[in-house]
Symmetry: none
Amino acid sequence: MNKRGQETREHIKKCAADLFARKGFKQVTMKDICVAAGLSRGGLYCHYNSTGQIFQEMINDMMSSQDMESDLKIRQNQSAAAILNELLDRYQNEMEDTGASLSLAIYEFFSSQDMAGGNHALYEQYLISVNTWRKLIQYGMERKEFCQVDIDAVIDLIIFSYQGVRMYGRLVPVDKEIPSRIIRQIKSILIRGD
Amino acid sequence: MNKRGQETREHIKKCAADLFARKGFKQVTMKDICVAAGLSRGGLYCHYNSTGQIFQEMINDMMSSQDMESDLKIRQNQSAAAILNELLDRYQNEMEDTGASLSLAIYEFFSSQDMAGGNHALYEQYLISVNTWRKLIQYGMERKEFCQVDIDAVIDLIIFSYQGVRMYGRLVPVDKEIPSRIIRQIKSILIRGD
Amino acid sequence: MNKRGQETREHIKKCAADLFARKGFKQVTMKDICVAAGLSRGGLYCHYNSTGQIFQEMINDMMSSQDMESDLKIRQNQSAAAILNELLDRYQNEMEDTGASLSLAIYEFFSSQDMAGGNHALYEQYLISVNTWRKLIQYGMERKEFCQVDIDAVIDLIIFSYQGVRMYGRLVPVDKEIPSRIIRQIKSILIRGD
Amino acid sequence: MNKRGQETREHIKKCAADLFARKGFKQVTMKDICVAAGLSRGGLYCHYNSTGQIFQEMINDMMSSQDMESDLKIRQNQSAAAILNELLDRYQNEMEDTGASLSLAIYEFFSSQDMAGGNHALYEQYLISVNTWRKLIQYGMERKEFCQVDIDAVIDLIIFSYQGVRMYGRLVPVDKEIPSRIIRQIKSILIRGD
DNA sequence: TATGAATGAGTCTTCATTCAT
DNA sequence: AATGAATGAAGACTCATTCAT
């Protein structure tokens, strides 16, 4: 039974996540993680061979615990506006706690990968988001709840402004009102006279 | 006369910029720059003490050679729509050559800085951009060329979606149409029925 | 009853022999042997404390399963030439399968030992060989089958050219005819006009 | 001018040669060499990246300072017997100072190399030796100084018994008379009634 | 006997940085 | 200004070895 081993791995990931959120990806060394996790060098290497491996696994855990799509499916009868509100609330929250997030580390990590083909976890998540938004906007337009818009253009605007805040917001000390203003503006594009 | 010294510094910055664009900030070592610039270790240290110093100076040079504001001032009589088109064209171009840009390095550099107080070059540039946009949108609204919008919200949307494409676009292999779609969508916010 | 333990030890030695033959002595770690034998770290340490111990025991097993001398004793009535042929055939075969042999590992192992006093397995085997040859040559000379030769000198030539091929042959890609030529030449020293 | 650097390299090679002769190839670490040469870690790495590189260069230096062939050419008029004596004397000397030699290290080094194609320094030296002996024996046979022998077989016997003593002699504590006995025996093959 | 997690020491390797020339 | 040899610290990684289970 590898119960103990599994616990250690979880413990390592937890400690590492903390470090990554604070320092980004490349600043974190195996040694840092040893110390943070209270393990010896060799002990850590029993479980992981590199910070990249830890990071990867950590991200995969996170991604698989999310799943935006399902949200949508189970509510086919809700009003599009209600679903939109929920989704945008989530986006707003995530934009607001910029500081604690892993966005910096994610950026560093994935930009140091060979993204040829682009089939890594981040891209998959991006595609899922695009899909989710497309379905929602189509649904809203069909029901006449949303204005007739250029769907792809609106999706781009939503996703990239969101990512922009998450990433750029770690570089410059931005106004706390920004997330809510952006969300409001997006709503007004989809729902005139909101 | 320190003409020769000045030339060497320029040469170093040029070579370093190349490295930073390709590899990001932290991946570039003083040694790399030595090699790229064809200088010895000691030779490089005559001019700069760290990669950060080189980067800093490089960025400052760039920032001071741009200056969005001036554009605006000298055209007080142009139509707001024309100025808008010009600005957005520039944004679109910069979004499109994502790959070659320094955005990754900038991100790494400034995120490793102690941005307490936030008075670094990047932030200054951000403030300038905000200011430029604010003036332009006000100008357009006064002239009735632009719709009545929530100025700050629109500015946020413009700047962060732009930054989002520049940064996130280095992580995931995005559609080439995105910049133009975003630009179009922004125009349609400011100018109904564009 | 330690039957199971004994089997495990044999299994370990077999797997280790394989590794040693392929990689030499020092390149093989306890970890390698664990993996090859399908044992855990602790499991291996139940039986052996070091690669040296395994190697030692392995070699001893091999040496005691050979025993050149006996060959000779039981055939006191055979012609010296016949015995010579048999022995040299064995030598030739061993020279020919240079690649598969443990010679490299043996060389590494014994050269890292403190051979002061020189009473290790390899030396014993050497002494046995010398003895065997001495008896045979004397026997052949007494029966007038062999020429009158400097016995020790011929023994040296036989043993060291044999060892030379086995060891040096792993370093340089030698002609396949060499073993047979050497054997022929040795015969011609002992039996003029062979 | 890189005079100082060159001197350091020579110094490193000298110290390393010492270590290799005493401990073999694989037992010597970069750290050992640092210490022996009185250099810091980084200092050593300025000049060499691995023990293999040092060893290689060391061996190449040695090989190019020898050149058996020339010996032969310049004495076309000497008696074959005289040349033979000289060559065999050299072999005898080299067999006798077994202990101090690099043979062990050479064995380890080249056996850990990928000798595919077999065109490394050791093999070249082997080919040169074979060639030298072939010329000498042919010369001696033409002048009727040497017996009619199977040239290749004799060459094999000479070279491999020589290598056998050099290598095997580091493993077992052999009789000091062995080199001279071997040399004598070889002479008696070439010159009957020597 | 056997497991496999954990330790800790040792080596490798890379850099920023200094300094005599 | 510039060279490049040298330093020393830091991090990566690997193993022999131990120990609770």
